[in-house]
């Protein structure tokens, strides 16, 4: 592919007089993982939601693969985003149907895309459970019976099953204990690499950013205050806020 898969230009989201996102531009290239870090309330999640079409931006454009999402009709945007862009919620309970079996959760988007063969659907679901290290014997269990880490892995399987080209992740390791976080990160890194996904991952955890992201944006008060290669930003922070952020992490 020749250009960036996602281009965001001067994106703004106002709530009344407040500007949650105050004019952000960014590019994501195929196969690249872009991290967005910043403290709570810095506009990271709003930015991600605006890219995913979950909130309507007040100004600016979001161009996916040459098509401006903000200009598309609701139905076309919804279809395009449903087909091509995956969204991993911080809380797996927001991204899963808890009253539907694990297999059903993975198969749902495939059925939305037109798959109508039960045997094939089930086999695909099982293969995805394998990939996210959930036993095939759990395929008929409801996710409400799963641990938090398993739920998050199932959510990732559900999102990746339709093979999106771009995946947006909002704090994918939030609310998990550190050993489970480490395993999940390992898994994510493997999948991203193997599938050549473009990913935008929002996190306040610099460790997650360090492990996953190739490039990093630092946000504060709705603006990007610093950007660059991950190691460069974290090891040699230029902006005062980034310096504060990096020095706030306890070194164990």
């Amino acid at each position: 592919m020749s250009g960036p898969i996602l281009e965001v230009r001067d994106l703004e989201k106002r709530y009344g007089a407040r500007r949650a996102v105050a004019g952000v531009s960014l590019d994501v290239w195929p196969g690249e993982v872009l991290g967005i870090v910043g403290e709570s309330g810095s506009g990271k999640t709003t930015l991600l939601s605006a890219i995913a079409g979950r909130v309507a931006p007040s100004a600016g454009s979001v161009t996916y693969d040459g098509r401006d999402l903000t200009e598309l009709a609701d139905v076309d945007r919804s279809r395009l985003i449903g087909d091509k862009i995956g969204f991993v919620h911080q809380n797996p309970r927001d991204g899963l149907r808890l009253n539907v079996s694990a297999g059903g959760n993975v198969a749902e988007k495939l059925m939305a895309a037109g798959a109508r063969n039960y045997g094939a659907l089930r086999e695909t679901a099982c293969r995805w459970l394998d990939r996210v290290e959930i036993g095939r014997d759990r395929v008929d269990d409801h996710p409400s019976k799963f641990s938090g880490g398993m739920q998050q892995r199932l959510q990732i399987a559900r999102v990746l099953a339709t093979q999106p080209q771009l995946v947006l992740m909002d704090e994918p390791t939030g609310g998990l204990d550190v050993s489970v976080q480490a395993k999940l990160l390992d898994l994510l890194r493997g999948l991203v690499d193997e599938l050549g996904l473009a990913v935008v991952v929002v996190t306040h955890d610099l460790g997650v950013a360090r492990l996953l992201a190739h490039r990093l944006l630092v946000m504060k008060d709705g603006l990007v205050v610093e950007h660059g290669l991950t190691d460069q930003v974290l090891d040699d922070p230029a902006h005062a806020y980034t310096q504060l952020l990096v020095s706030s992490v306890l070194q164990v």
Partner: protein, 281 residues
């Protein structure tokens, strides 16, 4: 016909409002049209939606048949038939063939419907997506965008848990290739009768204030999987009364020692077959 009532109980502006909704429903097959549902002299859940639709379409020359679970002689069927005999003075009938309007709960008659006949269904829950999406705003969006992938989930869950599709009634259908529709709680045995039927099918949900319709000769497809195709129920014995092998059978418990028999749920169909047998004998 009793004096003191307007023809068919409802006042004319109300019937006009209902007819506008009905026309819209027929124009957009399977689409749920909101209407200003009225209080009726029976509780929600007993057929208030069906009664309002029937009241709106009834003319003085109509012959009305009312069935409940296929039977003409159950409480609700008798009451609703009497209600219209009293308030509209229309002729009533038990015969499917003679009726011009058939109000029903839970069944479509076995006797094939004809062009010019109108079926009126009583609907408890009109929204097929409600079981997985409680928000009305969201289900409306799903209908508008034809975003129906989630609907196969229910069937997937059936097969995953029981090895076959177990949804036995209110089996979801796609109308005219566009709108997903609940056919009301008819057994899936009756779903094929909806497809390309020569009769007009009207659905009224009183409590939920929705009307929808399947016009004559419209495609109605039951959802299924390629490797688990849609099938209808079958029984290993014929009707104990008339011997029909191709009708929907009810199980009747005959004593408290496990005795049971299976008879047609459509009483008119069963009786006609018995009459014909007697005549032949």
């Amino acid at each position: 016909m009793s004096s003191g009532y307007n023809f068919a109980y409802l006042d004319e502006p109300t019937k006009r409002m209902l007819r506008r909704s009905l026309l819209k429903a027929v124009a957009i097959p399977g689409y749920q049209v909101p209407f200003a549902s009225r209080e009726m002299p029976l509780p929600f859940g007993w057929g208030t939606g069906g009664i309002q639709v029937t009241a709106a379409i009834l003319g003085r020359d109509d012959r009305l048949k009312v069935i409940d679970q296929g039977a003409d002689d159950t409480t609700n069927a008798v009451s609703i038939r009497d209600f219209f005999a009293k308030t509209a003075g229309v002729a009533t009938t038990l015969s499917t063939r003679d009726a011009t309007v058939i109000q029903t709960r839970h069944r479509i008659p076995e006797t094939p419907l004809q062009h010019g006949q109108i079926m009126v269904f009583q609907v408890p829950i009109p929204e097929p997506l409600r079981w997985l999406e409680p928000r009305e705003t969201e289900t409306r969006r799903m209908h508008a965008f034809a975003d129906y992938g989630a609907m196969h989930l229910k069937l997937y869950e059936d097969v995953a848990r029981y090895g076959r599709i177990t949804t036995a009634y209110d089996y979801p259908v796609l109308v005219a290739g566009r709108y997903l529709m609940r056919p009301s709680p008819i057994p899936r045995f009756d779903n094929p009768k909806l497809d390309a039927s020569p009769a007009l099918m009207l659905f009224g949900a009183g409590r939920e204030k929705r009307i929808y319709a399947v016009p004559p000769y419209t495609s109605v497809k039951s959802l299924d999987f390629e490797d688990h195709p849609f099938t209808i129920e079958s029984w290993d014995r014929p009707c104990a009364r008339c011997g029909a092998a191709d009708s929907y059978l009810d199980e009747i418990i005959t004593d408290d020692r496990g005795g049971r028999r299976f008879v047609c749920s459509d009483t008119d169909h069963c009786n006609q077959r018995l009459d014909a047998k007697e005549k032949a004998a």
